[in-house]
């Protein structure tokens, strides 16, 4: 009896600790979202209160949508992220296939060469990257960002995907070879569909740092036409430091897409992390 009670106490303590930390994690986001929908007085007088009919006000959103060029920023971020993920997945999967499927001299060396980028951040080469982009005229283009993010994403993609490709049955590939499929057809038609779950994991891991990156947009593509949403909100919010309605609304607009994507994909994302894809 006393043992059962002790374990009950322990479970409640664990729940208490976890609930408290979960609240600490979510509270700032929640606070921003509720206050973005209130009028100026209510924001300051009762920051903790939910918007009521009396205090409900979307003036911040009107300011943001009226002045900031957020549609363009979203479009830029979207193009850069999607193009980079597509290239990382295609190039990464091709290289992973070559490394895991064929034996050739230099295989291990190539694997190690590609693995350098997992640990050494691409940011350290920024001085020369900027120089190179200036020389090739790619500064202030989305292409520059796509190239950098592709290079940044390839090492981890090759690492994860080649682990998975080793598990694809040899018999299947050999059956394909006997049926006269070329090596390209084996890759594209047999192997790629089988490693689709791993591709999804890689896509998520590639996407988050790209969407959230501030460094490279700031240095390589700060022009108005090529701003990403992260850089755009950084500058925009910086200009409106005293207009709390606008700042809170801009923050909420920036949180919203991430929040929706996360709630939709959280199960898959968490499974990807915990399934041993990243050991």
């Amino acid at each position: 009896m006393s043992k059962a009670r002790a374990s009950l106490t322990r479970t409640s303590l664990v729940h208490l600790a976890l609930i408290s930390y979960a609240i600490i994690s979510v509270f700032p986001v929640f606070l921003t979202l509720i206050n973005s929908m209130k009028d100026r007085n209510a924001i300051f007088r009762n920051p903790m209160q939910l918007p009521s009919p009396k205090t409900f006000d979307l003036v911040g959103y009107y300011t943001v949508l009226g002045q900031g060029d957020f549609a363009t920023y979203f479009q830029n971020s979207f193009i850069v992220t999607v193009a980079s993920i597509a290239l990382v997945l295609l190039f990464g999967a091709m290289a992973a296939f070559a490394l895991s499927e064929y034996r050739f001299r230099g295989n291990t060396l190539m694997g190690l060469y590609l693995a350098i980028g997992i640990m050494i951040p691409i940011r350290l080469g920024t001085v020369a990257i900027l120089q190179g982009m200036v020389a090739t005229g790619l500064v202030n283009t989305l292409t520059a960002l796509v190239l950098v993010y592709t290079a940044q994403g390839i090492p981890l993609a090759v690492f994860i995907l080649s682990e998975f490709m080793r598990t694809v049955s040899d018999d299947l590939k050999n059956a394909g070879r006997i049926d006269g499929l070329s090596e390209y057809a084996i890759f594209f038609r047999l192997v790629l569909p089988l490693v689709r779950p791993a591709m999804a994991t890689v896509a998520v891991f590639t996407m988050i740092p790209i969407w959230n990156d501030l460094w490279f947009p700031l240095i390589l593509a700060p022009s108005e036409a090529t701003k990403t949403v992260t850089l755009g909100s950084q500058i925009f919010i910086g200009q409106f430091v005293t207009n709390w309605n606008a700042v809170l609304a801009a923050l909420s607009l920036a949180i919203f897409p991430v929040l929706v994507l996360y709630l939709v994909f959280s199960r898959q994302l968490i499974r990807g992390i915990t399934s041993g894809a990243v050991k």
Partner: protein, 317 residues
């Protein structure tokens, strides 16, 4: 990129084949993009650190730039300050973020815990937000103009403790580090959680048969088994911290105020090579700082790969 003929795989018969071009085709795109945008610029940056502009011409100066960075009064103060702050930034992460991640993971992995997936989802949420969002939200919350922090401290009776932490040189670095901990605690939590789930049932059952349960089970059985995962999160934290920039830039600006008290190597690199306000961009010194960061990260990664990871191997199944 060699493609000399060899056997196809271990089971296949030994046949001499012509050059297998498809291997080249598969490897080439990744190799080209990766080499051209990542490796070559990195090498070029390391090379640039040995050059400087003398009389309008790029001249080889050997380790001259490093001497200036470490010893010249114009640079040395900023550099050592940034290095020291960066080290404190890292130590706070190691002392707060990683133990907290382990504790949260240990609680989450308790068998038959209800709402576990809800907790996981909530605690991992900040990790996905961009630095810009995180930085500004906390700037607002910690701002003395908006009474949220004093109000919350008042609820727990600690109102007297409140001060504008981000604006005081003494507390700004700790405040920024804790914001970063808040954002990233989800990563160690997830990796440790995965490691805890991977511990075989039999090991835990054997421990229970021997009467090792609860706390002592965690310290004596589980913790040694998850040491490799703790090693990984430590090195990830190390690399991430010595390469950090975005959060400080968002919260405190490029000057990393107040009075440089939150300046770390990333912000120093940005100001140095890109220029900021009255300071002109200096490519050579920028490359020198990047090289120092590279050497620090390389030293950390090597220490992990060649010393720490080797010693831990015996704990693995």
């Amino acid at each position: 990129m060699s493609n000399t003929p060899s056997t196809h795989d271990a089971t296949g018969p030994v046949i001499k084949r012509p050059t297998r071009w498809h291997i080249v085709v598969f490897l080439l795109p990744a190799f080209i993009v990766y080499s051209a945008v990542m490796i070559l610029p990195l090498v070029e940056t390391l090379r640039l650190s040995l050059f400087n502009t003398v009389d309008g011409q790029s001249t080889f100066v050997g380790l001259g730039n490093f001497k200036v960075l470490f010893g010249d009064e114009r640079w040395a103060h900023d550099f050592w300050n940034a290095l020291k702050n960066n080290f404190i930034f890292f130590v706070i992460h190691m002392l707060v973020q990683n133990p907290m991640g382990v504790a949260l993971a240990a609680m989450l992995s308790l068998p038959k815990l209800r709402f576990a997936s809800f907790y996981r989802t909530a605690i991992f949420l900040p990790t996905l937000l961009s630095f810009v969002i995180v930085g500004f939200i906390w700037k607002l919350i910690l701002s003395p103009i908006w009474g949220v922090s004093p109000f919350l401290l008042d609820v727990v009776g600690l109102k007297s403790l409140f001060s504008p932490w981000l604006g005081k040189p003494g507390s700004a670095l700790i405040a920024v580090s804790l914001i970063s901990v808040w954002q990233y605690v989800g990563i160690p939590m997830m990796l440790i959680y995965a490691a805890l789930l991977n511990i075989p049932e039999e090991v835990i059952e054997a421990a229970e048969c021997d009467g090792v349960t609860g706390w002592s089970q965690f310290w004596k059985i589980k913790l040694p088994l998850i040491l490799p995962a703790i090693g990984i999160i430590s090195i990830l934290t190390f690399v991430g911290n010595f390469n950090a920039f975005d959060l400080i830039y968002t919260v405190q600006g490029a000057l990393a105020g107040p009075d440089g008290s939150t300046d770390i190597l990333g912000t120093l690199l940005y100001r140095t090579f890109f220029g900021f306000q009255l300071q002109l961009g200096d490519r050579s010194m920028g490359a020198t700082i990047a090289t120092v960061m590279f050497l620090i990260i390389l030293a950390g990664v090597s220490l992990y790969l060649f010393v720490i990871q080797r010693r831990m191997r015996r704990y693995q199944f």
